[in-house]
Structures are given as structure tokens and as C-alpha cells.
Symmetry: C2
Subunit: 315 residues, 2 copies
């Protein structure tokens, strides 16, 4: 019997600010690139026709986590979220279970945070304006993290004008058209990935693109020809080339591995970032377990320090 802490949605958000999420996710990519943190490839358990469950293990800095999360695209039609599940956190020295952590808050923070980290590393020095394409939960958190990293003002686009308006209102940005959003310095796409929103013709020299929506086979937010015109970065090559924004361009023979740099290599100085001010940089974020680990480390530290309180249970 172990006593575990139950760290729910509000506790996670009280424990970890966007600024801390950005620092932690940056640090996590560096530790992973330097071999200090480890993870295994995502495992997909298909549950047709509902969607799939994903198991994502990672370990580092004394913790081992396992994220267990759904991608159930039909759920909104039933009034349920696409993303549900939990994160098990264990002590990697003793093996003891420590906590169960809400999955949606951690996923939102780590997905939003990496958009800010990638912009800080890959966008032009003078980049300021933000285009948010897709204003759901993850688009909202990407915008919050980018605003926290002093990007903005931004243009928020969503097929649902209320979603775009709410996010723009929260941040003092504006709701606008898809073209307005695509004309910004830091374009951040967080759509379901069913059809491309970025075309080869729509690319603007000097822009940085964060592609956050394509997180599984068959999803894409940019046309393969648009991807091929950019200087390419990703969170992790295996995931990006098999279930990310790069997948179609790789399959079509337009992109090969030697053209793609992992974000951690840039952060550690192992590889260069943006070539020049005219380059169009594209970052393919598929979502890594080490990002979840980074946020979980922050939550567990805050809980241990007494900064947040949580229910406990014996299991």
C-alpha cells in the first residue's frame, strides 16, 4: 500500500504558471537531448470506432511517469473531451507510486509551453505578432504561453467565432480571418488536422510556424509542398516522421531526415537554428512524454514544498 497524492486540474494549474511551464519544458528538452532523461516511443491502443488510447512513459530527475490518454475525436459530439486519462507518477529510485495527476492540465501546459520555446529558439529576433489558428484548449494555452513569453499582439482564428473572440478578449488580441493569422510572425496551428490550413502559396518569408495539431497518422495542417519549402524542426524525428506534420512530406519523398533538426539539438547547441531572417521555419510538435515529465516534476515539487495541497489515497 502506497499513499499517493491526487493532483487534479486546478491543483496543477495553481502549481505551474505558464512561465514555469516554459522553463520546465525547455529544461526537459535539454535533459532529454543530453541523455539524462529517457522515454520510450508512444504506444497506441486502438479502440475503434472511438479512437485510441496512448501510453507514454518517461523517466528523469527522480521520477518515472506514465501518461495514459485518449484521442477520441468523436467525443465532442457526445459532450465529452477528446483528451481524457491520467498520469501515473512513480519514484524512479524506489519504484513507489507517488501521485496520479490530471492529464488535461498537464497536456495543455506542455503543449502550450513548447510553442513558446520553439518560437524563442526559431522565430526571428524581431518576431512579435502571433497568429493562432484553432482556438480550442490547446490553441488557448499556446496563446497564453506565447503571450507570457512576450509575443503579441495576436490574431485569433477559429471556425467558431465565439472561441476566437473569447481567446482574443482574454489576451487583448483580435479575432480575425485565417489569412490575417497566417500573415503574423509566429503562426501557431492547433487544428484537428483533418485538412491543411497552410498552403505553399500562403507562406511568408521570415515567418515561424508552430504545427501542434498533427499528433497521429493521417493528420496534417500544412500541405506537403508547404512543409518542404520550410527549414524544418521537430520535437522528435521518429514521432514526427511517422505520426506528425512531417509524415506526408516524408512519404512523398519531399523531406528526408538530414533536413530536419530536433529542437533539443538547437537548445543544447548541437545544431544550428534559423538560417537567416528570410527563412520560413517550421516546428512539428507531436508531443513528447518528456514534456509531461517536465510539468509533473514541477507539480510534484510544488506539492512537496507545500505550495499546493491535494487529497491523498492509499492504493
Amino acid at each position: 500500500m502506497a499513499e499517493i497524492a491526487l493532483l487534479d486540474h486546478d491543483t496543477v494549474l495553481a502549481a505551474v504558471s505558464p512561465a514555469e511551464a516554459i522553463d520546465r519544458v525547455r529544461d526537459g528538452f535539454i535533459r532529454y537531448a543530453s541523455g539524462e532523461w529517457t522515454m520510450t516511443p508512444k504506444v497506441y491502443l486502438d479502440v475503434p470506432p472511438n479512437g485510441d488510447f496512448r501510453a507514454m512513459p518517461a523517466s528523469g530527475s527522480g521520477l518515472a511517469i506514465l501518461k495514459w490518454v485518449t484521442s477520441f475525436p468523436r467525443n465532442p459530439g457526445k459532450g465529452l473531451p477528446v483528451v481524457m486519462g491520467m498520469i501515473d507518477v512513480s519514484d524512479s529510485e524506489t519504484g513507489e507510486p507517488i501521485a496520479v495527476v490530471d492529464v488535461r492540465s498537464v497536456t495543455a501546459l506542455r503543449t502550450g509551453a513548447v510553442a513558446a520555446v520553439a518560437a524563442q529558439e526559431l522565430a526571428r529576433e524581431d518576431a512579435r505578432t502571433v497568429g493562432i489558428i484553432g482556438c480550442g484548449v490547446h490553441g488557448t494555452w499556446a496563446a497564453r504561453c506565447l503571450a507570457d513569453a512576450e509575443y503579441g499582439p495576436g490574431v485569433c482564428f477559429d471556425p467558431d467565432p465565439d472561441a476566437a473572440g473569447a481567446l482574443a478578449g482574454e489576451l487583448g488580441w483580435e479575432a480575425g480571418s485565417l489569412d490575417d493569422a497566417l500573415a503574423c510572425d509566429v503562426v501557431t496551428c492547433v487544428t484537428p488536422g483533418h485538412e491543411p490550413v497552410v498552403t505553399a502559396d500562403g507562406l511568408r518569408p521570415g515567418a515561424h510556424l508552430n504545427m501542434l495539431g498533427a499528433d497521429g497518422p493521417g493528420k496534417a495542417e500544412a500541405e506537403p509542398e508547404a512543409v518542404a519549402r520550410c527549414q524544418l524542426f521537430c520535437d522528435e524525428w521518429e514521432q514526427a516522421s511517422h505520426g506528425g506534420e512531417l509524415t506526408e512530406a516524408v512519404r512523398a519523398g519531399l523531406v528526408t531526415q538530414d533536413r530536419v533538426t530536433e529542437l533539443g539539438e538547437v537548445l543544447t547547441g548541437m545544431a544550428p537554428g534559423r538560417e537567416d531572417d528570410a527563412a520560413m521555419t517550421l516546428f512539428d510538435s507531436t508531443g513528447l512524454a518528456i514534456q509531461d515529465l517536465a510539468i509533473c516534476n514541477a507539480v510534484i515539487e510544488a506539492h512537496r514544498a507545500g505550495a499546493v495541497r491535494a487529497a491523498t489515497a492509499r492504493i
Copy 2:
């Protein structure tokens, strides 16, 4: 926020008797063999020098589970169990988290139960006596399940005579030597797998061997030559040939896949079982997520029916 039930060790054991565990695990193998239940291969997250964490997803009968469990062989030296973790249970229709379940009780029940199922299917009709080699937690539960399935009396062997004596006392069996245990009709090995306890010379015609201890690369309880002399069965070929009792014999070229039958094929009548009364049958149990799913289904049903009570938490 989902309300999840916290089903601890004692609740699991109150909800599921050895007899029900045997029925459920048998049913789970049948549903898996017939394609109704699914699972992915075990994922190992190494945490040197402590051991590894394993992630084991499975789905069926309305549930999707993820088992997150350690194998930390050095833990007993620190006064901690080798096996720790938890099992996340979600609704496979909606994706909603339902419960967190104690991992040790479920693992013990499903490991013990499969020893009884395999004996019922593969041992001789007139087999009665049981040799238990290794009287730790899983050896104890294998003995309890075999006794529940009306096997016995048995001989319990363990390097620690107190462990052998306690188990023998509980079941009204006897503590004895390794040779005494190996002379029984149903020999059940549940050792750490560091060195073989079954040699080619020690095999007795007509015996049935349950090999439960080898659950990862480099572990074995029988010499490859002994394995090769038996009529071979396993829970799942991929696991058994890569991280089970069969692994060394396969690597040495002594055993090929066409010589090995999966238990589910025997249970569904897709393949024959024991050839004749003189055959030595060997069942390699590596432990499958569908066995955990079978027990979790029983626990969740008992909880929903009000047969057991549990704490709940919002996460």
C-alpha cells in the same frame, strides 16, 4: 474532472476469489484468441541500476486498462517489494477514467490463475500432486489457485524454509526438497529466474510444467535442453520468445515457432493440447495485459454491483 474509484489490495482480494480469477483469466485468453480483446506488446522503460517499469495496455468488454508496474530486483534488499505500481482503468467507449487499481493483488491473482488454467488444459487427466518451486507472493497465489482447482496435495520448496513451511501449512501440503517438488504431476516454478531449477535429466514423463518466473530478457528457470524436450505452450509467442522461458532455447536454435502453441489456441479448440500421457508439457507464462484486464473486469463489476466498497477521488 472524472470521479475515479480507488480499489486497493484488500478490496481487490475481497472482490475476486481464486475460483473467479481462474474463470476470468480463462475467459480472457479465449476472448483474446478470438480477437475480441486486444493488447499491445509490453513496453519496458529501463531505470538502471534499479530495474525497469513496464507499461501494459489492453482493452475489451468495455474497459481499457494500462498497467504500470516495476520489476526492481534489488528492492527486497531495501525492504521494498519488487513489484509496485498501479493499474489505470478507463471506459473504452467514452474514454473516461474509472478507477485506479492496486497492481500487486491483480498481478498475484492473474499469475496464480493462469497456472491453474494451464494445468487444467495441459496436465494429464489424472494429474493431482503439485510441486511449488519458489514460495514468494506469486508462488503462493499459484498454489492457492491450483488448490482451488482441486489439485494437490503439494510439495513446497523454497531456499527459505520458513516461506515453504508457511505455504505448506496454509494449504495442508508439505514442505520438501527441490527433487520432491520436481517429482510431482504439476510442477510450478516461480523463481527469480537467475539460474535454472529444471534440468533435462530431471524431467519426468507425463509431468506438466508451469514456468512463471521468467518474465524478461535473461531470465530462465529451465535449461534450454530441458525446454527442447517438452511439448511447448506459452501465453503469447512474441513475449515468450523474446523475454520468457523459451527465449534461450529459441536463440540456441533448439525451438522454432511451429513447435509452440499458445494457450488461447488450445482453449478455443484451434489447436490440440497434450499429445499423450507420456508427454512432458511445458507452459511458459510471461504475463499478459489481457490477464490483468480479466481481473480488472471482475473487480469493476463487483464494485459497480456494490459487492465491495471503495474510496473515490476526483481527478
